[in-house]
């Protein structure tokens, strides 16, 4: 599998001068190294202030590294900037666009900044006959449809909801058919349906177009279902790195099981006496933190005459990983 992003010994030191006081320095990113391969969705997890955005800004050439090297598809972001930028698209921190024009016009402007060769697959004879203008027009329509904004394309961006702006940001990032897509907290401000939409979209992009995707978040639950690998960053350092299938394999530990039954209070008491558990009751839901198999628990409940209306299982391994890897920061 080809490497689309190579980060080596990357460091960013911020120095802030405040008035006459001595300049304070902050190692926002501290000697980190990692790779992203094509077709991979890599989660970049860390608490607020861990250095996720700073890393992503350096990858996209917006911030200058203090030291270290970044290569996109083999091209150095610093030394071969223009070439490197042909293969990357992204949304950094907030999906800012020109508010006084429509979403479509934003994209129509930005697409003109991409050279023809990155927009067209040379093996596609149908596209190679089109003019740059026609290719641009088609591409704008494609990405707008991809993110589900086609119907709202003529609305002014400042009238968009945050979720729509996130989608437009992703559409913008996809304009050049990048090999590497970097998204900084794309789930911010999205409703659950929006998160599911983005999750599905990103997986498809990785699968179909073989894009390498780096997606950051401070919330595990968002990443758990879409990533193939996670990197945990804390205090500017990468403190853990795991493949998701590895995680699934050494699944021996606990789950968080959420149950909905017809009589929550009584079922909780039943579970306590039967399994020695300490269920928490939240409204009609019962939450259990246990390593006992879910099947056994529901079977026993049903046999005891309870009506089990819903079951949700959350693996807590990633949560554990995250908590351990960021312990120091807390």
């Amino acid at each position: 599998m080809g490497v689309v992003l190579e980060v080596k010994n990357l460091t960013k030191v911020y120095s802030s001068h405040k008035g006459l006081s001595r300049a304070k320095t902050l190692r926002a990113v501290d000697n980190i190294s990692f790779e992203v391969h094509e077709g991979e969705v890599v989660g970049f997890i860390g608490p607020n202030g861990a250095g996720k955005s700073t890393t992503i800004k350096m990858i996209t050439g917006l911030a200058k590294p203090t030291s270290g090297e970044i290569k996109i598809c083999g091209y150095s972001v610093d030394k071969n900037h223009v070439e490197a930028m042909k293969y990357v698209g992204g949304v950094i921190e907030t999906p800012d666009m020109y508010g006084d024009i429509s979403g479509e016009n934003n994209l129509k402007y930005l697409v003109t900044l991409h050279p023809r060769e990155t927009m067209v697959d040379i093996n596609d004879p149908a596209l190679s006959l089109l003019t740059k203008k026609e290719i641009d027009k088609k591409r704008v329509e494609d990405v707008l449809r991809m993110v589900g904004l086609w119907e709202r394309r003529t609305d002014l961006v400042r009238r968009y909801s945050l979720g729509m702006k996130q989608r437009l940001g992703i559409a913008q990032a996809l304009l050049s058919k990048p090999k590497l897509l970097v998204l900084d907290e794309p789930a911010n401000g999205l409703d659950p349906a929006g998160i599911i939409y983005i999750r599905t979209l990103l997986r498809k992009l990785a699968e179909v177009y073989k894009m390498g995707i780096l997606v950051s978040s401070h919330q595990l639950s968002e990443l758990q279902l879409m990533c193939t690998r996670v990197l945990v960053i804390s205090n500017g350092k990468i403190t853990a790195e795991k493949n998701m299938d590895e995680l699934a394999q050494d699944e021996t530990g606990a789950h968080i099981i959420t149950l909905v039954t017809d009589r929550p209070q009584e079922s909780a008491e039943f579970l306590q006496t039967k399994f020695g558990l300490h269920p928490q009751i939240e409204g009609s839901q019962i939450k259990l933190n246990t390593s006992i198999d879910t099947g056994t628990i529901t079977k026993e409940l049903v046999l005891a005459g309870f009506n089990v209306l819903g079951v949700n299982i959350e693996k807590v391994r990633l949560e554990d990983l995250f908590m351990n890897a960021t312990k120091e920061a807390r």
């Binding site: 917006l62 911030a63 223009v82 800012d96 402007y109 003109t112 990032a173």
Partner: protein
């Protein structure tokens, strides 16, 4: 690619709303100023006429001399020059300080000498010679109700609007995109930062030049539509060194040049300071501050170096004109290039170094 970048910047910087507001202000202002100017000039014709009758034509920039008078004037001005130079030596640096910006007397006497030398050389005796003085000229031009004077006065009045427009365009070019965060999506493309700065710079220059052309074309065509050109033998003096003859149109040309250089200076200044501070308001306020503090610069004797003063190189095509104490075309021009070049280079440099997000 660069063409797309440039066109994009042009679209971003051009606001139809601002352009229309400026245009309305210009036309409304023109109607008001034009009307009152007519009234004023009619008044001044009567006043000036009576003054001339009384024999005090001090305000006039018309010379009419016989051969002997020319020689006398030449001698007197040479003596005055010697005295002024002596006085300058005695004063030392104080010579350059002035409470209100006044013109350089040495420069003035040298110009007068150049004129009389020109008259004698060409034997232009007993005939009306109009010499160019950027302040007097407009007044006298006006009182004569002629095209050139009308155009010069109007340009002076409306250069204010052009300055404001240059400040609006230049100050936000970088600062706005920084504030809105849109710089991120532009820079994430296969372009270099220098290309983006260049595109912005060219877009600023294009827009302010377009505004300038509209204003100039309107003023000049109305002026020449309403009035005829002034008549007479027009004499200009280049940098107090040498007199030469040109038509009244040359006066209009130097007036236009003056306004253009000043508008460019404000546009580039606002781009530079907006970029440096990342705040549009400073891109607006600092250049304006330079023009407001030009008087203070005069107080400490550095008026001739002041960024907003060095743009008035047209003053060096006349007598006294805008020549500040110690002023000189060969000082102003290099300084002008230095300031503009420095600020342009500075903008490229800052933009290149900085983390934009």
């Amino acid at each position: 690619m660069f063409k797309q970048l440039y066109l994009g910047e042009l679209k971003k910087l051009f606001s139809l709303k601002t352009a229309i507001i400026m245009l309305v202000l210009f036309l409304a202002g023109y109607a008001i100023v034009g009307f009152s100017m007519n009234a004023v000039s009619e008044l001044s014709i009567t006043n000036l006429g009576s003054e001339v009758e009384e024999g005090s034509a001090e305000l006039s920039n018309v010379i009419r001399v016989s051969e002997s008078e020319a020689q006398i004037h030449l001698g007197v001005n040479r003596t005055l020059l010697e005295n002024a130079e002596k006085e300058k030596k005695e004063l030392g640096f104080k010579y350059y300080t002035s409470f209100l910006s006044h013109s350089d007397s040495i420069y003035y006497y040298k110009s007068q000498i150049a004129i009389y030398e020109y008259i004698i050389e060409n034997e232009l005796y007993d005939t009306d010679i109009v010499y160019y003085d950027s302040t007097l000229f407009a007044l006298n031009f006006l009182s004569g109700q002629n095209a050139g004077g009308y155009a010069i006065v109007m340009l002076g009045v409306f250069s204010f609007l052009l300055t404001i427009y240059a400040l609006i365009i230049g100050s936000g070019a970088y600062a706005n995109e920084m504030k809105n965060g849109t710089l991120k999506i532009v820079l994430m493309n296969p372009i270099t930062r220098n290309q983006l700065t260049l595109a912005k710079l060219l877009a600023i220059l294009t827009l302010i030049s377009a505004a300038f052309l509209i204003v100039c074309a309107t003023i000049v065509s109305i002026s020449y539509g309403l009035y005829n050109d002034a008549e007479g033998k027009f004499v200009y003096v280049f940098n107090a060194l040498k007199a030469f003859r040109a038509g009244p149109g040359f006066a209009v040309f130097v007036g236009i040049l003056d306004v253009y250089l000043s508008v460019i200076m404000y546009g580039i200044m606002s781009f530079f300071f907006g970029t440096l501070t990342k705040k549009r308001i400073w891109g607006f306020v600092i250049p304006y501050g330079f023009s407001l503090t030009a008087t203070l610069a005069g107080l400490v004797g550095i008026a001739r170096f002041w960024p907003t003063n060095v743009t008035s190189v047209s003053g060096f095509f006349g007598v006294s004109g805008n020549a500040l104490p110690g002023g000189n075309f060969f000082l102003s021009l290099p300084l002008l290039i230095f300031y503009l070049g420095g600020m342009i280079a500075g903008t490229f440099f800052i933009f290149n170094q900085r983390d934009v997000a």
